[in-house]
């Protein structure tokens, strides 16, 4: 590779690159220095007299002040990126000239889009997004609803709190009604307190008969197959043809040994041995249909058999939702490390929730990839080695469940719903009062019109007349409340264009939707209604209380997942061959690590710098096992101190972040480098342009990532960005696609089918982790990279503050907010970039307190 030459080019270009526009100047202009480029290479054909392709460029404005000008420049950018212009037969710019022009123009376009997208500080009324809606219903009715039928509100750029981009599609109204009806059905629990039920099952009672039956079937299949082949008569033995007979026989022979192994095992007499793929692979517990919804406890007596790696000593609990059985998948609810042994088993207690309409089919299985084919791959790989299949790892003695566990009856939400009239008899005379009180709560302090109530009552009476019971007649008007604009939108009326201070109730709503993604609780609403909330010290105490509340998890999860675009973690299936340990539960734990770490920084009032480099991690047993950290017990996340020199600690050392910088198979220095620029250095590269000719020179060659990427430097269209991005990513090459440390790069080669059968081959390459930051700072390896990034807390804090402002205010961060961001950062700096301080500053800021 020609690294030396590429390096020289980097340095010259980075040093000479100047900011496209001054921070204080709100105009977005293409730098004047490019007038010559345009004149030399474009204007000759694209002018007033000779506007080739109907594009005239001699009169183009260098200031991008409107969408039309932006589109003209975008066209130029596209044509250059696609390599269409300048035409082959005309004079070509040098690669350096072209790179520089493209680089500046791409950056200018990013600024221009931002400026043209600036809402001038206007906060548009917004609808509750899907998360907020879910939480709001939970607070109001005490039930969890399935919101999958609503649009996710994430994905078209920006946060799901930005009102202007939250649309309302024509089917949505009916979805809201349908969800509300279901939720009300669950919430309106009348009648007597449900009795506690209990059931105990010895696992061998279900496992052994099922295995015996399955073995008998397999043996029959094998015999019939053998006979069909011997006699040549397939139909007589129940096969459509001989090929099918042979296939079925082979399948039986693959499966029989593991069945025999389990059935011959002494532990089968007193419990169930769990297998992977074929055999008794999932233990099912069905909560009967007539058992009341509520919180239940599942208890499992389990132990490990020993002799298998630690990552296989975990038990997954999940439930089967419609359609999941076919693929051998389930909805994973939790994962437990099994520390007991078959001689000395332990009892694991698992809280589960049973709802009226949700799944009642609970599954216990060995931790595994949540994909039938992936598990088969694992099976075949082990079978290839020992002729049977994966070694047995988990043994279940018995399973029992009890529930519903009711600590208060009727439930609090039901009591609230029926106006504390727990004992008073419900009748038609207090129906209006119930509806009115509910609407008042649902509208979060906004007035409920009498005419609206009248109409709700009309609905009620019609239902009654049609013969509906009191409860079900009440359900309908209450559902309509939950589909009304006063409920669905956060309304802050203003008739003028002037900004005004928020009322205390409006402030309470903004606060709680910012920090909880949920409506204000009684304490906050009381302070708002009395006006106390407007006192600075009261406000500060409330914000502290809210950040400390478990409800702040919604903020952490909602904000962080969007800020870091964590949906990418679900984009790829991680190859079970290459990354057997990075299964579904590992991926969930890796994702949660990011949230829990952010939550810890918020709760413990730590510096943002801890997100760049820290001497601790926040992990649970599973992730600790994945990282090779000793001594972490329990599936709750906790703070764990790291040995000096550990590669973990900070975002760059997190499996989720590293895995997102991959395609599930190979690490991607490009994705990782771009992540560092975007989220950590606050220097986002422009979005990947369309129509750039694919680099084909190295096509099909098996090469380490670094060598493949070197080709980026050969074309200006690529080099403009990749000269900055890729060298950062090289510093993370010691982490594989699933975020584990590696000494060499392992690439899987050969046919796909073979890999699926566990017979893939690999090639190994040494890793060169040296690289540099866009400003020219060089590093030798991962530790050097992390150190260099950690030295730029200011940049990181600015990017994070801008994102937080956008999330909190519900509008894009605009040029008009620069000063605000400066102030917030100044006060944060004096407190070592405390995340809490930044949140406090945002809440105390003028834009947050006004409409």
């Amino acid at each position: 590779m020609n690294g030396a030459r590429a390096c020289v080019v980097f340095v010259i270009l980075t040093l000479s690159s100047i900011r496209v526009f001054a921070e204080s100047d709100r105009r977005v202009t293409v730098p004047d220095e490019h007038r010559d480029f345009l004149k030399m290479h474009c204007v000759k054909c694209h002018n007033a007299d000779k506007s080739e392709g109907e594009a005239r460029l001699d009169d183009i404005s260098f200031e991008i002040a409107d969408i039309e000008t932006a589109e003209r420049w975008q066209k130029i950018l596209n044509a250059l990126n696609a390599g269409e212009m300048p035409p082959e037969d005309s004079k070509q710019p040098t690669e350096i000239e072209k790179t520089r022009f493209l680089d500046n123009l791409s950056q200018t376009m990013v600024s221009a889009r931002r400026k043209l997208g600036d809402q001038g500080g206007v906060i548009t009324m917004r609808r509750l997004n899907r998360r907020e809606y879910e939480n709001t219903i939970r607070d109001l009715l005490g039930v969890s609803v399935n919101v999958k039928s609503l649009p996710s509100d994430v994905g078209a750029g920006g946060f799901d709190t930005v009102g202007k981009s939250l649309f309302f599609s024509s089917d949505q109204f009916e979805q809201y009604l349908a969800i509300a009806r279901l939720a009300l059905d669950e919430a309106m629990v009348m009648g007597r307190k449900p009795e506690l039920r209990h059931e105990h099952r010895e696992c061998e009672e279900t496992a052994t008969p099922s295995l015996k039956k399955s073995l008998a079937n397999l043996q029959k299949q094998q015999n019939n197959g053998t006979k069909a082949i011997e006699t040549g008569d397939s139909t007589k033995y129940g096969f459509p043809d001989l090929a099918r007979a042979k296939f079925q026989k082979d399948q039986a022979e693959i499966r029989i040994p593991i069945h025999e192994l389990v059935l011959d095992h002494p532990l089968t007499e007193s419990g169930a041995l769990l297998t992977l793929s074929t055999g008794y692979s999932r233990d099912l517990t069905l909560i009967p249909k007539d058992a009341a919804p509520g919180n239940y406890l599942l208890r499992v007596r389990a132990g490990t058999l020993g002799g298998v790696p630690s990552n296989r000593q975990f038990m997954e609990v999940g439930c089967i939702v419609d359609g999941e059985t076919a693929q051998g998948e389930m909805t994973v609810l939790s994962c437990y490390q099994v520390t007991g042994t078959s001689e000395d088993p332990q009892t694991i207690e698992i809280p589960i929730t049973v709802t009226k309409s949700g799944s009642r089919n609970f599954v216990i299985r060995e931790r595994q990839h949540n994909d039938r084919k992936a598990v088969q791959t694992m099976f075949f790989r082990e079978r290839a080695a020992n002729g049977v299949g994966p070694a047995l790892s988990l043994w279940l003695d018995w399973v029992e469940w009890e529930g519903p566990v009711v600590d208060r009856w009727p439930p609090e939400a039901t009591v609230k719903l029926f106006c504390a009239a727990a004992h008073a008899k419900l009748d038609d005379t207090n129906a209006r009062e119930i509806v009115a009180r509910f609407a008042t709560r649902a509208f979060r302090g906004k007035e409920v019109k009498e005419s609206f109530l009248d109409k709700l009552m009309e609905i009620f009476h019609r239902q009654r007349k049609a013969g509906a019971s009191l409860e079900s007649a009440l359900r309908e008007p209450l559902a309509v409340v939950l589909a009304s604009p006063s409920f669905l939108y956060i309304v802050e009326p203003t008739t003028t264009q002037e900004t005004r201070a928020l009322s205390p109730v409006e402030l309470a709503n903004r606060l709680s939707y910012f920090l909880w993604s949920a409506p204000p609780d009684d304490a906050l609403m009381d302070l708002a209604e009395s006006g106390e909330l407007m006192k600075s010290d009261v406000l500060t105490r409330q914000v502290d209380r809210m950040m400390a509340s478990p409800k702040a998890w919604s903020f952490v999860e909602g904000f962080v997942s969007q800020w870091l675009h964590m949906e990418r973690l679900d984009f790829f299936q991680f190859s079970p061959m290459l990354y057997p340990g990075f299964d579904h539960s590992a991926r969930l734990a890796a994702r949660d690590e990011v949230f829990h770490t952010f939550h810890t920084v918020l709760r413990e009032d730590l510096s943002l710098a801890t997100l760049l480099k820290a001497d601790f991690v926040v992990v649970n047993d599973l992730l600790a096992d994945y990282y090779g950290l000793e001594g972490v017990r329990g599936n709750q996340f906790c703070k764990v101190a790291l040995e000096p020199g550990s590669v973990r600690g900070g975002l760059l050392g997190m499996a989720a972040i590293l895995a997102m910088g991959s395609d599930g198979e190979r690490s991607s220095p490009v994705e990782r480098g771009a992540f560092v620029m975007r989220r950590l250095l606050n220097a986002a590269p422009p979005p990947a342009p369309a129509n750039v000719p694919q680099l084909s020179r190295l096509e099909g060659e098996i090469l380490p990532a670094r060598e493949l990427l070197a080709a980026h430097m050969e074309e200006a269209q690529c080099a403009q960005c990749h000269r900055k991005i890729d060298p950062i990513g090289y510093g993370l090459e010691n982490f594989n696609a699933a975020g584990l440390w590696r000494a060499e790069e392992v690439i899987s080669v050969g046919k796909v089918k073979k890999q699926a059968r566990g017979q893939g081959e690999t090639e190994h390459f040494p890793i060169d982790p040296s690289g540099q930051l866009p400003d020219g700072t060089k590093f030798d390896d991962y530790q050097g990279l992390r150190q260099a990034v950690a030295g730029r807390t200011e940049n990181f804090a600015r990017g994070l503050t801008e994102a937080l402002l956008e999330y909190a205010l519900g509008r894009p961060f605009g040029f008009t907010d620069e000063e605000l961001a400066n102030d917030i950062l100044a006060s944060a700096r004096s407190r070592e970039y405390s995340l809490r301080e930044i949140v406090h500053s945002i809440i105390r800021s003028q834009p947050f307190l006004s409409k």
């Binding site: 589109e71 009324m125 203003t494 790829f572």
Partner: protein, 431 residues
């Protein structure tokens, strides 16, 4: 019509959106069943979108073989038996689209994402919905949107189906064959009277929320009342649908000439697409709708073909396994399309012609392959729009707007439109 609904509609009308409310025909008015002596068979228009595009090297015919003298490329091989009945068009694209993973969002709209100042996303009406405004009057379903539950992973981009309404808001799809089957063909089991009463209940729900909206609207500035308008638009849409339901209330769902049964519940990928195609044919036979779109599963298709790479990974193929997978997908998709064409050709209309003769079908995506958004894959079939079939057309302007095609097809099936999206004119060479 009671007073409340009068006020509601007056209120809906007074808000700033330009769309007129359809007149509420609560009494008596009844459309004629389509069996009444047909003069010419009705036209149908169908769009099938497949997200992440195709394998560029092996899907397109050779650009030097145009007109009727062209060879089927490997990616289209399974369409061999229909070669005289399909046309390929090259060099079409949407000039505003810079989103390399959004194969469906702007495919039928040609919109500029950034056209609306201060908004991170904007879209406009899709071609199918333009047709639905005219064709939809005649059928029980104004239009039918089909989709799959893997859209996020299939390179379709934002949206709920291929269809976007007049306001540029997404229209939801039926995302699995079972739901689609029931919506299209299941008989109503509730008695007529009860359904009439349900309709009244639905209207009084709308009345009620509009009453609340009137209160909210009173104190809003321009930006906020635009937002509230989106809500009200949704109420208007439901009203339109209800009055349509009312018209059809006592007409049983018509049956396709080839009977269909409820599909199995767990079809994924290849079989899923095949069943959806069959349901589309059945819906056309029953004249349930004349406008349909299908945002096809791609990720699930790979799963059903035992390919372990994701659709995204395959779309960024390089020589080797991923390219092979991408080519396999092209081939399987072509085989499915060939099956659909078979079915259309085999569906006889009352006058002896076939459904194929009256259907205009486009099969394609806004993405060519990888990050290429130019020369969007475009295959046309069916006689509905009068497009000459069996031709390979390479537009001389390499950036001919896709919207020129949509405009041509819309006009071809008889929709009186002068422009669509960023169209600059029609494509006369098609006819």
């Amino acid at each position: 019509m009671n007073n409340h609904s009068f006020y509601r509609r007056a209120f809906l009308r007074s808000s700033s959106t330009l769309i007129a409310l359809p007149f509420f025909n609560s009494f008596g008015w009844r459309r004629f069943a389509s069996a009444a002596a047909p003069v010419a068979r009705p036209k149908r228009i169908l769009f099938l979108g497949f997200g992440f595009g195709v394998t560029r090297e092996t899907w397109y015919p050779n650009v030097d073989q145009t007109g009727t003298e062209w060879l089927l490329p490997p990616g289209l091989k399974p369409l061999e038996r229909h070669k005289k009945d399909i046309s390929l068009v090259q060099n079409l694209s949407n000039k505003f689209n810079n989103e390399a993973h959004w194969g469906s969002t702007f495919w039928l709209t040609g919109a500029n994402r950034y056209a609306e100042p201060g908004q991170s996303f904007h879209n406009s009406v899709s071609a199918d919905q333009v047709a639905a405004e005219v064709f939809g009057k005649e059928t029980r379903f104004t239009s039918i949107q089909l989709g799959a539950d893997d859209a996020d992973a299939s390179g379709h981009g934002p949206g709920l189906s291929l269809a976007w309404n007049r306001q540029g808001k997404p229209i939801a799809a039926l995302n699995n064959p079972v739901t689609a089957f029931h919506r299209l063909f299941s008989d109503e089991t509730t008695p007529l009277e009860q359904r009439q009463s349900e309709l009244r209940d639905k209207r009084s729900v709308l009345d009620t929320v509009v009453d609340d909206a009137q209160g909210v609207a009173r104190g809003l500035n321009k930006h906020d009342s635009d937002k509230l308008d989106e809500y009200l638009q949704s109420i208007r849409d439901i009203e339109t649908r209800l009055s349509k339901e009312e018209q059809w209330l006592d007409i049983p769902k018509s049956k396709p000439t080839d009977p269909v049964t409820e599909p199995a519940g767990e079809l994924v990928g290849y079989e899923e697409i095949k069943v959806m195609y069959d349901l589309m044919v059945a819906a056309l036979q029953a004249d349930a709708s004349r406008v349909m779109t299908y945002r096809q599963p791609v990720e699930n298709l790979y799963r059903s073909l035992d390919v372990s790479f994701t659709a995204h990974n395959c779309s960024h193929y390089t020589e080797g396994a991923r390219k092979e997978a991408s080519q396999l997908r092209d081939e399987k998709q072509s085989a499915l399309l060939a099956h659909l064409i078979d079915r259309l050709k085999a569906s006889l209309e009352p006058d002896g012609s076939t459904l194929f003769d009256h259907t205009c079908l486009t099969y394609g995506s806004n993405i060519q392959s990888m990050h290429y958004l130019e020369n969007c894959p475009t295959l046309l079939t069916g006689g509905g729009a009068g497009v000459k079939l069996g031709k390979h057309l390479v537009m001389s302007d390499p950036k001919t707007p896709l919207c020129n095609l949509w405009l041509s097809l819309l006009q071809g099936v008889g929709i009186p439109v002068r422009a669509h999206g960023d169209s600059t004119g029609t494509i006369p060479e098609l006819f």
